[in-house]
Subunit: 204 residues, 2 copies
């Protein structure tokens, strides 16, 4: 699939993948700058030099487009490194995650997307399948490596580790609505790795 | 403050505390049965036999009333016992919390309240100050006792424990949007207490 590019007559059709990338980049820029409500098909089509018809074909709603744009935009920022030390890598990634939210403007659009998703089942599905679950799978992959290397217990529940790291941050952002910053990260990781009970403990 | 009770002529004015409790109980019933949007001043006033003027005086918005009604309604269900064994008590409370959400109909109104709070700063304030932070303080109190009894490390961060228990549940409910049930609770508590790293670990 391809389409004529408005304002680029004579330059012919762009390949679909290129149009798709341009649309997602434009949606991501608008989302981070002006928030979820600014991501309309009209505005994104204009900014991306794409036709609205194309957007309607590819995304069921502006919310679904915003969720995917958020995933694409955050991908590079939220990479989980593998230096061989899972504690260090989790601290690196969670610090980047907190900066992304707090310093790079992602807190507002993320809160708006998750907020709106609670009242809109289609957006909930789009958010969960194009952002939240793929990100969880990326975290699981890194944790699986650590588990194979003996840095996590054999019976550790990787999904619970995800809940207790990134979920802890979302808890402060969305539920408690209390301020926090990167200074929490190392303690968060140490709690997830070593627990809150005195050292003599162990799984029962 | 008190007011005339519609439909109870001749029985005079009810004390303000009684009216307030009746209003919160009515709002809680409507919230659990029909969701956040059904909690309007009109409907709550009628169901509680109170005047709308009174509701306007006591709550800045129907959302603020719904948040407080949710707190009152959940209080008994969400009590944190103290049997002297923090692991057992956390499992008891978190199991009740998951049942409250999953079996007693609280998931929908909670999600709607937290969702709407992301798009409405006044509701965010009401939710945080009348529900989320008071509940965190109740959990902290129980954890403080456990810490004094040596069941938690002296340097354990009680707020992080709260994030890693209840926050983990909210993460699945609100962000991941994946199903879960009580069967997660014991593992969640064991992860928070004993960590995901092999037993030789300890805080660095």
């Amino acid at each position: 699939m391809s389409e004529n590019v408005p304002g680029r007559p004579g330059r012919g059709r762009r390949p679909a993948a290129e149009v798709r990338a341009a649309v997602l980049a434009a949606a991501g820029r608008i989302l981070l700058r002006d928030g979820m409500r600014a991501v309309t098909f009209d505005r994104v089509a204009t900014e991306a030099g794409a036709s609205k018809t194309t957007l309607y074909k590819w995304w069921p709603s502006p919310g679904a487009l915003a969720a995917e744009a958020y995933f694409v935009r955050s991908r590079r920022v939220l990479e989980l490194p593998d230096t061989g030390d899972v504690r260090a890598d989790l601290i690196t990634q969670l610090s980047a995650f907190v900066r992304w939210l707090k310093d790079e403007g992602a807190e507002r659009p993320m809160s708006e997307l998750v907020g709106a998703a609670q009242l809109d089942p289609d957006l909930a599905r789009a958010w969960s399948t194009t952002y939240a679950q793929p990100r969880r799978e990326l975290a699981r992959e890194r944790l699986r490596i650590a588990q194979r290397q003996g840095q996590l217990r054999e019976d550790a529940d990787l999904d619970i580790i995800v809940d207790q790291l990134w979920g802890a941050c979302y808890h402060r952002l969305l539920v408690l609505k209390v301020p926090f910053d990167e200074s929490i990260v190392a303690r968060l990781v140490d709690h997830a790795l070593y627990g809150a009970a005195p050292p003599r403990g162990g799984y029962r």
